[in-house]
Symmetry: D3
Subunit: 161 residues, 6 copies
């Protein structure tokens, strides 16, 4: 069988330990794992797409088969471009699941040869959403144990600014 490439797409504004956990676990399964940082001009973000990419790259620099890239457009188009057969999504609650199931069906309709696989989030990361991290930082709550160290520094820098 030819090499298996997967894509892990998201906004990652910012990347959390929950995302990093999925990246580490997925990197053990696939020959190449692309972390695809969505650049959506209609969505206001705390960090630019390139900043988000650099934060992830630094946090997973020990993982040789992980590549981080910015993309815009459809996830399936990015996957096709990279020759990826798999889109991997971390899933937590059943509400997450309902949403992701619909997305997976949409993607399967557009590109039937690309499979979406769901990787269950570890329970300790159940509550760790990027939006929650930003809300916690806004109120000066400590997030050092739910984001990578470099992301924590970046958040403190932004929040002090």
């Amino acid at each position: 069988m030819s090499k298996l490439t997967a894509v892990f797409p998201g906004s990652f504004d910012p990347v959390t330990n929950g995302h990093i956990d999925v990246i580490r676990r997925a990197s053990k399964l696939f020959d190449t794992l692309y972390v695809a940082v969505g650049d959506n001009i209609n969505k206001k973000t705390l960090f630019t797409a390139n900043e988000r990419k650099l934060l992830i790259e630094e946090a997973v620099k020990d993982l040789e088969n992980v590549k981080v890239e910015v993309f815009s457009g459809l996830t399936v188009s990015f996957a096709e471009e990279k020759g990826a057969k798999v889109i991997i999504k971390g899933v937590r609650s059943s509400e997450d699941y309902n949403y992701e199931y619909e997305m997976a069906e949409t993607n399967s309709h557009i590109s039937p040869d690309i499979e979406t696989l769901f990787m269950p989030s570890r329970p300790e990361y159940f509550f760790v959403r990027s939006s929650t991290v930003k809300e916690m930082v806004k109120f000066k709550a400590d997030v050092s144990d739910i984001v990578p160290e470099n992301v924590n520094r970046a958040l403190l820098a932004v929040s002090d600014g």
Copy 2:
């Protein structure tokens, strides 16, 4: 990266077109896919474990990298024995998901190096459970388009017997 082996476990009493769809799609992703037919002596089944194995083998005989085996005991033990890093589960509704999430966490606790990945069932197989198939056969309803042809023949033989 070394070859990637996955296990698709279940009772398969009998295998349905929903299962076959997951097997076909998963067989394109992994170097070897083991379909693991659970032999649970405490559970009454319509077909014996060996009959269920033979029905699956016949239905997917064109897929060279798929192996069908009977097992008892924990799924993770079977996976370890085969050198599989992945357990693949087909998931339909959010109720399914809640159940499978718990199973995946149990398995991850016992064998942290084996990942459970969820493959969303295609919507057209949403209602196709093995138990529904048996109920339909009991009431003489036609199941020829929701199970493989050889399974349909086996069901008619059992039901006429």
Copy 3:
């Protein structure tokens, strides 16, 4: 348009005020409403199918377009026999919904021309299951306001017996 007939199937062991509410509301929409009392010989019930039928008939005797019948076999076969285009189901929680959705898809597969429609249970009947009623009676709890009066009398008679 020809007259519209609907079927409301269930075990009704015993009928509760939740069921009666669905029957009353549905009877205002359809020309004829069949309450179909399932007779499943493999399922142990508190009341016989005929007793359950009589209890419902007495409780809704003021509704002229409601007919109560015992049936066995598939609900869609009963519906076809009666010329019914609609199967009506009362639905409460999302867990109920997931189950009923699957049933509806199975039925639609067998008989594409019969539609299953879900009628939301009124919140005050949310917790009123037949099994809960029986459990409450077992422990001598009062059920007089969650079942029809004649059912309450029948339950007290059985429980004293």
Copy 4:
């Protein structure tokens, strides 16, 4: 029994094959089915309320008992005005269901004599939301098999514009 009229309300921006399927199935049950196109001035839409109405009318012009109208205000007020006893809603996932259940209870509180009935979406339309259609069009993905032909033409015209 007097004639049974139903209302199928929505934004329909644009109408999809999922909506059309519900309209076709519901039109077989009710004497008259009103498709009620919500005109909400606070919500930005791709097509005007009147354009949406015309697109639906063209797509179901073969259904003689279906009438399409623009409305604003409460759905139950529109239903009362038309003498409709039923509001019909297509429901997909359990998340949909939770939302629609709440809406149905609100409507039942305002107008106790109007019943909301849920019609399960066919699985093949599970992922087909109007918002998904618009997102797909934005990225030049083909939507010709998930919207009616005239809607596809209208979408291409808007998207080329």
Copy 5:
């Protein structure tokens, strides 16, 4: 054991009979119950934080151990300030639950000594959201039986204005 203080946080824009029911039931369990009215400058509200506070105070003025206060910032910080060990949340559907579970985990992570407890909403208040109340008022629907009398008067005053 020292006295038990609880916090019931929310936007309360406006307070509904569903909220009042939770306040009344919780006030019987705890020595002091703080109703904490969130003042979020980024969120547009119908009533100011102080108006919302006054409306609640008037509606529960017979409950001596209930105190109503405006707060901004994290709920757990407010709880710590008041020496409260419990945050109480009313929960309705499973969708509500998934959301509140995540919030509770976030709060538990920030302040491990404060417990979030969920109080199930009575079914008759299942559909009563503040946002629904405002939507109903906008369309001149009667809300007098789902909000306290003083809130109804305030809504009519605002709506006539």
Copy 6:
């Protein structure tokens, strides 16, 4: 306010670290916490009700305000007998929640003055069900970190026997 007593009911066959966590957290909130071990003669258990009681007592012997008792009958009757105003339940997934919500409504109907409060399970105990523990023991999997030490010893003794 008078002292606040709570009941934590269950089968506890056997008690797990998930249960112990709820007991420890709840014991900090209430003056007295009764752990109520259900003795249901129709349900086959691994340990007798008295054995289950003794295992819990040993595991929480450092908690002075926790009392463990065997009971049969309705939970609300036990609560009334103990003068408890609160029934506390640990809740995990939304499926759990739907089930517990219904139970809480039933109990509220029987005894309106007793409140059921849900305490969210810590995520690390999400998968820890008593039934899972027994299944794991059956297949010789290690459960020493998901049950208390004395329960582990008891399970090994039973499993070797």
